[in-house]
C-alpha cells in the first residue's frame, strides 16, 4: 500500500472521485494550473482537463453561491476556500442557502457540495491564517462538518463527503498536511512516512461520516479531540502516563454520540481539547452533552482545554496554542493526580 502525506491522500481522493464521477468538479482560488497554495489539487487540471479543476475569482461568496447552483442542477462540486479564515465572506451562502435549500424546497432542490478548507494554526500565520471556525458551522442545522486527523481518514472521509447528498464543510488541519505534529514546536516533526495511518489504499473507499475513532483505549479519563489536537492529545497522554482513552471525533456533525457516551460512562472523566477559542466553542456543546448523558457516571467536572479567548496572536502562537502541557494539567486535575 502506498504511503501518503495528508496532502497526497486528499489529492488521491479528489483524483479518484474525478475519475469515478463526471459530475464532480473542483474550483477555487489558485487550484487549477498551480494546484492550490498547499498543493492539494496538484496535477488534477492536467490530468482531468480545464473544466474539471479550475481557478475561481477571489470571491468566496461567489464560489459557494455558484457551487450551490451547480449542486442544485445535479453536479457534485468540491469548491476550495484557500484558508478557513476566508470562508467568512461566504457564511451567508452556507448558512442561509446551502444549509436550508433542501428544507425550504421540501427536497426539490439540494446542495450536495463539499467545501474543502485548510484550518488551524501552528504555522505562524497570524490571525487570518490560523483560525478554527468549526463551531460556527456546527451551530448551523443543515451543514455537516468533518475534520480528519490522518491521511487514511482524510481520503476516506473526503470521498464520503463528496458522495454525501448534503452540504459538507471539510476542514483540513493544515499543520498535519505533512506530518503528525504533536504540539511541540521545539521538536522536529516526523513526516507521515512510516505512520500506520499514512498507509493509504489507491482507489475509492469510504469512512462513514459520524463515526468516531478510538485512537487509544484507556480507563482513567476520556479525551475528546479532532484534527490537529488528536496528535497533541496522544503525545500528552504518552508523556504523563495517565491511562486516558482518546477519541478522535472525525466529524462533529454528524456526531458519534454513542462513542462519546460509552467512553465517558466507562472512565467517568472527560477532557475536551480544541484549538479554537474556548467561549462558545464546540467544546461547550460536547461538555453539555456529556453532562446531560453521563452525569451519574462523572467523577469530576468536565474540562475544556482550548485556545484563549483572543484572536490568534502571531508572536504568541505557542502561548495561545493548547499544547500537551495544558492538557496534562487538565488530565491531572480530572483524575485527582494534581
Amino acid at each position: 500500500m502506498p504511503s501518503m502525506t495528508m496532502i497526497q491522500a486528499l489529492n488521491s481522493a479528489l483524483a479518484d472521485k474525478l475519475a469515478d464521477d463526471a459530475d464532480v468538479l473542483i474550483f477555487g482560488e489558485d487550484v487549477g494550473y498551480f494546484g492550490g497554495v498547499f498543493r492539494v489539487t496538484a496535477g488534477l487540471q492536467e490530468r482531468f482537463g480545464l473544466q474539471r479543476c479550475f481557478d475561481a475569482p477571489i470571491a468566496e461568496s461567489g464560489i459557494i453561491a455558484t457551487a450551490i447552483g451547480m449542486g442544485a442542477y445535479g453536479l457534485r462540486p468540491v469548491p476550495e476556500i484557500q484558508f478557513a479564515d476566508y470562508i467568512l465572506p461566504a457564511y451567508d451562502q452556507l448558512v442561509s442557502e446551502a444549509a436550508r435549500l433542501r428544507y425550504r424546497s421540501s427536497g426539490e432542490f439540494t446542495a450536495p457540495i463539499t467545501v474543502r478548507s485548510p484550518y488551524g494554526g501552528g504555522i505562524f500565520g497570524g490571525q487570518t491564517h490560523s483560525q478554527s471556525p468549526e463551531a460556527i458551522f456546527a451551530h448551523i442545522t443543515g451543514l455537516k462538518t468533518v475534520i480528519p486527523s490522518t491521511p487514511y481518514d482524510a481520503k476516506g472521509l473526503l470521498i464520503a463527503a463528496i458522495e454525501d447528498d448534503d452540504p459538507v464543510i471539510f476542514l483540513e488541519p493544515k499543520r498535519l498536511y505533512n506530518g503528525p505534529f504533536d504540539g511541540r514546536p521545539d521538536q522536529q516533526v516526523p513526516g507521515w512516512h512510516g505512520h500506520p495511518a499514512a498507509e493509504v489504499p489507491e482507489g475509492l473507499y469510504r469512512i462513514p461520516l459520524g463515526k468516531a475513532a478510538t485512537v487509544r483505549e484507556g480507563e482513567a479519563a476520556t479525551v475528546l479531540a479532532y484534527g490537529t489536537m488528536v496528535h497533541v492529545a496522544l503525545s500528552a497522554i504518552e508523556e504523563c502516563g495517565i491511562d486516558a482513552e482518546l477519541i478522535d471525533l472525525r466529524s462533529i456533525v454528524p456526531l458519534d454520540i454513542d462513542a462519546i457516551v460509552a467512553s465517558v460512562q466507562k472512565t467517568g472523566r472527560c477532557v475536551i481539547l480544541h484549538e479554537a477559542s474556548r467561549f462558545g466553542g464546540f467544546g461547550g456543546e460536547l461538555s453539555a452533552l456529556v453532562q446531560e448523558r453521563c452525569f451519574y457516571h462523572l467523577e469530576a467536572p468536565v474540562e475544556r482545554v482550548c485556545g484563549w479567548d483572543t484572536p490568534y496572536p502571531h508572536a504568541f502562537e505557542w502561548d495561545y496554542f493548547p499544547g500537551p502541557a495544558r492538557l496534562i494539567k487538565a488530565l491531572r486535575r480530572v483524575t485527582g493526580e494534581a
Binding site: D55, I58, Y86, P89, F124, G126, T128, H129, H314, A315
Partner: protein, 424 residues
C-alpha cells in the same frame, strides 16, 4: 406526454440543428511556464496622448478613459502631455528616494525571511511608484486604506525604518505588540489604516471614512486600494455603490499587477473589460493609468483628489503595473508563469523611469544615484541591525500579557481568568 405546465413554456425544439451544445468557458493566460511570454493583449497608449478633462466634467463625457492609458513619461524620460503634474526637482528626487528605499528594504527583509528572522514577507518590487506618488500627492489629513503592497506610502512619509523591522520580527519593540502578521502594519499618524490579511474588506471602510469626513464638514478625503484579483470580491462592488450613491470624497483604486498569486487577470474578469471600466456601471469616472509612471500616478491621484475635495464625488483608478517578484515568501512564481515574463513587460521599471526623467531634466546623474543608493542601503542595514539587537522572530517578543490586551478596551472575566491560568 402531458406537460406539467398549463401553457407551453416554449415551442422551440429542444435541440436545433447546427447549434452546438453549451460549453463552459475557463479563461487561460497567454503563456504558462515553457511558453513564450508576451503582453500583446495589453492595451497601451502613447505618453501624453490622453486629454485631461476638467475635474467638473460630467461623467458621461469621460467614459472613454477606462479604455485608454494615461501616461506622462515617454521613452526618452520626458514628461509630456496635459497630465504632466509639474513637480519640482526636490519633489521628484524625494519620490525617487522613497521608491528606492522601498525596494532596498524589500530586498533586505525578504532575505531576512530566508535567514529565518521572520515568518513572512511580501515585496512590492516594480509597483513602488503607486504608493509613493499617492502618499506624496495626498495630504496629512487624508487616510489611505492600503493593501500589503503599499510600503511605499510609509517610506514617502519617513516612517521609522527600525519600527517596520521590529514589526516584521515580532520582537519586544514591535509597535503592534506581536499581535499581527509581519508587514500588516498600522500607522494612523502616517495616514495608513490598519492592514489585515482579508482581501478587500477595508474598501468599504475607505468610503465610510470619507462619508464621515463629509458629514462633519472636514477637509480630509480617503483613498482605498485593492489588487486586480480582489476586484472580484463583493466588498469591492458594494464599496463602489456606496461611494457613488453618497458622492463620497474617496479615491478608489485597483493595482493591476497582472497576477493574483497564480491567477491571471482573466480570472478576475479582465478578458474583455478593464478594471477601470468597472466605474462605468456605477456612474463615476474611471481612469486607467500607467502605474510604473510616477508622474502619471501622481497626476491621476491629484485629479481624483481635486474632484473629491470639490464635492464632485469618487473616482475609480486602475494602475497598470507588473508584480515582478513572487506573491510572497511562500510563493514560487516560476511554477505558473514563464520565467522571463518580466522581461517582456512593456511599461518598464518605475525607478529606472523616474531616474531617467531626472537625468533628462538635468538634475540627476549616475554618481548621485549611486550615492543615494548607498546611503539608503546603509539606512536600511542600520535599521535591521538595530532591530536584530532587540531580537528576531522567537528570540525576542513582547511580554506575553500583550496577547490579552486590546481584545476589548476593558477585559472581561474570561480574559482575566485566562491570564491567571497562564500564570501572568
Amino acid at each position: 406526454m402531458r406537460s406539467r405546465y398549463k401553457y407551453a413554456v416554449s415551442n422551440a425544439p429542444v435541440l436545433r440543428p447546427n447549434r452546438l451544445p453549451l460549453r463552459l468557458h475557463i479563461p487561460e493566460p497567454v503563456a504558462r511556464p515553457g511558453e513564450a511570454a508576451h503582453f500583446g493583449n495589453l492595451a497601451l497608449a502613447e505618453a501624453g496622448a490622453v486629454a485631461r478633462p476638467d475635474i467638473d466634467t460630467v461623467e458621461a463625457d469621460v467614459r472613454h478613459l477606462p479604455y485608454t492609458l494615461i501616461r506622462v513619461l515617454d521613452d526618452d524620460g520626458h514628461a509630456v502631455g496635459p497630465w504632466a503634474p509639474g513637480l519640482d526637482a526636490e519633489q521628484l528626487i524625494a519620490g525617487l528616494a522613497a521608491m528606492l528605499r522601498t525596494r532596498i528594504f524589500d530586498d533586505r527583509l525578504f532575505r531576512a525571511h530566508r535567514q529565518g528572522k521572520t515568518s513572512f514577507y511580501m515585496k512590492c518590487t516594480g509597483e513602488e511608484a503607486i504608493a509613493v506618488a499617492q502618499s506624496m500627492a495626498l495630504g496629512r489629513n487624508d487616510m489611505c486604506f492600503p493593501t500589503y503592497r503599499m510600503l511605499g506610502w510609509l517610506m514617502a512619509r519617513d516612517y521609522p525604518l527600525d519600527a517596520l523591522v521590529n514589526q516584521i520580527f515580532s520582537n519586544a519593540a514591535d509597535p503592534l505588540a506581536g499581535r499581527q502578521l509581519p508587514i500588516l502594519y498600522s500607522a494612523r499618524d502616517y495616514g495608513f489604516y490598519s492592514l489585515s490579511g482579508n482581501l478587500g474588506s477595508r474598501f468599504g471602510h475607505a468610503v465610510g471614512w470619507a462619508m464621515a469626513s463629509a458629514y462633519r464638514g472636514d477637509e480630509g478625503i480617503a483613498l482605498g486600494m485593492v489588487g486586480d484579483g480582489t476586484t472580484a470580491e463583493g466588498d469591492f462592488h458594494e464599496a463602489l455603490t456606496f461611494a457613488a450613491v453618497y458622492r463620497a470624497p474617496v479615491i478608489l483604486c485597483v493595482t493591476n499587477n497582472q497576477w493574483a498569486i497564480s491567477s491571471f487577470t482573466g480570472i478576475a474578469g479582465a478578458e474583455t473589460a478593464t478594471f477601470a471600466a468597472k466605474a462605468l456601471a456605477y456612474g463615476i469616472p474611471g481612469l486607467r493609468v500607467d502605474g510604473n509612471d510616477f508622474l502619471a500616478v501622481w497626476a491621476a491621484t491629484q485629479w481624483a483628489a481635486e474632484r473629491a475635495r470639490a464635492n464632485l464625488g469618487s473616482t475609480l483608478i486602475e494602475f497598470v503595473t507588473y508584480r515582478v517578484a513572487g506573491h510572497s515568501t511562500s510563493d514560487d512564481p516560476t511554477q505558473y508563469r514563464p520565467k522571463d515574463e518580466a522581461d517582456h513587460w512593456p511599461l518598464g521599471d518605475p525607478v529606472d523611469r523616474l531616474k531617467a526623467h531626472l537625468i533628462a531634466i538635468g538634475v540627476w546623474d549616475e554618481e548621485r544615484h549611486a550615492a543615494l543608493t548607498k546611503q539608503l542601503d546603509d539606512e536600511v542595514k542600520a535599521a535591521v541591525k538595530a532591530a536584530e539587537a532587540v531580537g528576531t522572530l522567537g528570540a525576542s517578543k513582547p511580554p506575553v500579557g500583550e496577547m490579552f490586551e486590546c481584545v476589548f478596551k476593558d477585559a472581561d472575566w474570561r480574559i482575566d481568568e485566562q491570564r491567571t491560568e497562564l500564570g501572568l
